[in-house]
């Protein structure tokens, strides 16, 4: 059923795009495929992690939209940050985000990543997650129900399909801004500056 629906949408898009520009068409097709298959790495940072299992299992079956969970950041397209982030967690989150392969997206759950939520005055919890890493879709609520999460998936899919500017492009463009924000809260210990001289022993060159 989805395939038929999206197929028709692609067709009408091509019609309204006027002159048939093969490159543009290819881009559209690729974007459509990207929107149809999203590999998720679910990072259970806070209490929101409890909403993840029902989202992906039998009750609200996220796989029917091509959203599948994977284990490693290398294979993931989308990272779900569920709940508040302590500084310690933020460091790992940044590390994981930088290990993901482009194009890559982030969905944040709950109000804590947006404005600190109930941890607004905690000395160890960040308030504005989008200062440190770009968020594509922020699902509000404390906690958002699985329906809301799926709503977020659909919104993200629409954005990918329409080729809107994604978070990773922002991150590449103003990397300096993000890095100095990270350095402000994490000290000079942000990635990739865990300096051991192992770290610069290069791998093989093709």
């Amino acid at each position: 059923m989805e395939s038929g629906f999206y197929g028709s949408s692609i067709k009408c898009k091509l019609e309204e795009s006027g002159i048939p520009n093969t490159h543009a068409i290819m881009e559209r097709v690729v974007r459509w495929f990207e929107s149809r298959s999203i590999f998720v790495i679910a990072y259970g940072t806070g209490c929101g992690a409890i909403e993840m299992p029902p989202t992906f299992t039998s009750r609200y079956d996220a796989e029917r939209m091509g959203v599948v969970g994977v284990a490693t950041p290398r294979q993931a397209d989308l990272m779900i940050l569920s709940g508040y982030l302590a500084y310690k967690t933020l460091r790992r989150v940044i590390r994981t985000y930088e290990q993901m392969q482009k194009p890559k997206y982030i969905i944040s759950l709950g109000s804590c990543p947006i404005n600190g939520g109930m941890y607004w005055d905690s000395y160890n919890t960040i308030k504005k997650l989008d200062d440190y890493i770009p968020i594509d879709v922020a699902v509000t609520g404390c906690m958002p129900r699985p329906e809301a999460i799926i709503e977020g998936f659909v919104l993200l899919q629409e954005r990918i399909k329409n080729g809107e500017k994604a978070g990773w492009e922002k991150y590449d463009k103003n990397l300096k801004f993000y890095k100095e924000n990270q350095r402000r809260v994490l000290g000079d210990h942000t990635d990739p500056s865990y300096e051991t001289d192992w770290y610069n022993l290069g791998g093989g060159d093709i």
Partner: protein
């Protein structure tokens, strides 16, 4: 109970809080020997928790060890107080292994030092460079505002009060309008009735 008698020998008083909670207050010099005797002689094998309270006014930390013995029927709180600046306590991780992580947390949150502790490394806070956060002279709000300030309001954000007033007025107006319409309907009805009568 015989524990009280045993403590008498050490010239300590065992005061009873309620039927399962007892409390002993010791000087910080006595603490180590007392804890040793508690696990060796009185057989209090379980260390529930090590709590620290920051008495800023007296300039001391009040440390409380909660112990249980084999037949878990009561808790003994051993309370002592140490100086705030360069506070130091003997490490208990040899007597109770679980003490290691409790002391580690206390070191991080209050800056209490434990000589001879195997792992006094970062616990929950990594690379913490301020005064320990659980001390009362640590101003949390200031720190938070410094580190991550509040999110400013959006440029298309509206003033809440104005909005409320507007809405209330709008509601009122709508209500009034509805009443007038109702009245008008009534009037119409009457008119029609009369006109019918006229036809008849």
């Amino acid at each position: 109970m015989d524990l009280a008698a045993k403590l008498k020998k050490l010239s300590l008083t065992l005061e009873q809080k309620n039927n399962y909670l007892y409390k002993v207050v010791v000087k910080s010099e006595q603490l180590e020997s007392l804890l040793l005797s508690f696990i060796n002689e009185f057989d209090y094998i379980t260390l529930d928790s090590i709590n620290c309270r920051d008495d800023l006014e007296d300039g001391v930390f009040t440390i409380t060890y909660c112990l249980q013995n084999r037949n878990r029927d009561h808790i003994v709180m051993i309370q002592t107080s140490i100086e705030r600046e360069n506070a130091t306590l003997p490490t208990m991780h040899i007597l109770w292994p679980q003490a290691e992580i409790m002391e580690r947390e206390m070191h991080e949150m209050f800056g209490v030092n434990f000589p001879g502790h195997p792992s006094l490394i970062d616990f929950a806070l990594e690379y913490w460079n301020d005064i320990p956060p659980m001390r009362r002279d640590f101003d949390t709000l200031e720190y938070v505002n410094k580190m991550n300030p509040f999110r400013g309001q959006r440029d298309d954000a509206l003033d809440a009060k104005e909005e409320m007033k507007k809405r209330r007025e709008a509601k009122k107006a709508a209500k009034l309008k509805a009443e007038q319409e109702a009245a008008a309907k009534e009037a119409q009805k009457v008119k029609t009735n009369t006109s019918e009568e006229v036809q008849r």
